[in-house]
């Protein structure tokens, strides 16, 4: 059967690949260095497929359709906006068999995944891929979207249930695929409204500590209102982290880096969810 060999948590800011707006070279090196460490770990773990948990930013989906949770089961393109950000046009290698198996496993368990038979993904998928897995030939991607952006956002307990279901899907997937899971986004940032530009480093470090302690239940218990107020609407993306952490409950959380990046108006956290060898 396939094997989940590790997990990683990381930001997905659209400006990361180009480095746009960030003029502090040392800070940029530290941020890029964190992505490079994840890339190296993917190589060490001989990962074949990465499941990327992201959230659409009113881009691939809109007022016409807002799925609470969705798996891309077919072709993965990048959105027009991602192209504008300088990431190349073209297909991202996918793993339709595993993606379909995640949907079917969920369906059998009472989880009604929405699915897309093709999608132009936004930066929440394209950036983590570009900064890590893309640098390793042959690595495939399964994009998973949670709604963290448009009210009502997904419940944190549901995000965790989805992570557990994804794990069961991996464990029951025929073959010898080696899979990693990414939880992307966050941590504190205010997007588009009052407070934009603030970073709550204290909140961010609390979240990083909870990851290190494997305090999944504590993260699930954080009220959305509290997260909104203390760390901004962008911090709700920790639900993507919750989903990934729930898939690897036995993992040890190891902080790779934490960098508040004022130019990107975000506290950037990087962790490995490390499984025993």
């Amino acid at each position: 059967m396939a094997q989940l060999v590790g997990g990683f948590l990381m930001p997905h800011l659209p400006t990361i690949p180009s480095g746009q707006l960030l003029e502090d070279g040392e800070l940029k090196d530290r941020v890029y260095g964190a992505f490079d460490k994840i890339t190296q770990r993917l190589k060490d773990l001989e990962v074949d497929t990465v499941i990327i948990i992201g959230d659409d930013h009113y881009e691939s989906f809109g007022p016409h359709c807002i799925p609470t949770c969705l798996v891309v089961t077919g072709d993965i393109n990048v959105s027009d906006h991602v192209e504008l950000l300088g990431m190349p046009k073209g297909l991202i290698p996918n793993n339709p068999e595993l993606a379909q198996h995640i949907v079917q496993t969920g369906h059998d368990e009472g989880i009604d995944w929405a699915f897309a038979k093709y999608l132009g993904v936004d930066h929440s998928i394209a950036v983590p891929y570009t900064m890590t897995a893309k640098k390793i030939p042959g690595v495939k991607v399964v994009p998973v979207y949670l709604n963290d952006v448009i009210m009502p956002v997904i419940r944190s307990s549901r995000a965790a249930e989805l992570g557990r279901s994804i794990r069961r899907a991996i464990d029951s997937f025929p073959g010898d695929e080696r899979v990693a899971i990414f939880g992307t986004g966050g941590i504190s940032h205010w997007v588009g409204g009052p407070g934009m530009g603030n970073i709550n480093e204290e909140f961010d470090r609390k979240i990083m500590k909870m990851v290190e302690e494997g305090d999944l239940e504590g993260l699930i218990a954080l009220p959305d209102r509290e997260v909104f107020e203390q760390a901004g609407n962008g911090a709700i993306e920790i639900k993507n982290w919750i989903c990934a952490m729930a898939a690897v409950p036995e993992a040890q959380g190891l902080t790779i880096a934490y960098e508040p990046v004022p130019a990107w108006i975000t506290g950037c956290g990087f962790s490995e969810l490390k499984l025993a060898a």
Partner: protein
Amino acid sequence: MSLNALEKALWQVYTNHDDNARYKADPAAFAQGFDLDDAERKMLVDGDALAQIAHGANSMLVMMVWQSVYGLAEFHKYFAMVNGPDMQAALAARKG
């Protein structure tokens, strides 16, 4: 209230190149295509981001529309605007 229609219009400006061009060329004509009340029509035609946010439009969507109209080089203006007193006044007016 037709907040959904306002978000529909904003989303089309953000994601559809042709609609973006139509909006920039003649916002009033573009707004004719949507079932908006008078206040919503005005905030769309005026490109009044603060009024749109105060009205309940998704702030991320409002920001991206603003950026698509005015460009990243002008983004500092948006930044200052949403953190300024006019934003607080708009929110207070909405609550009131």
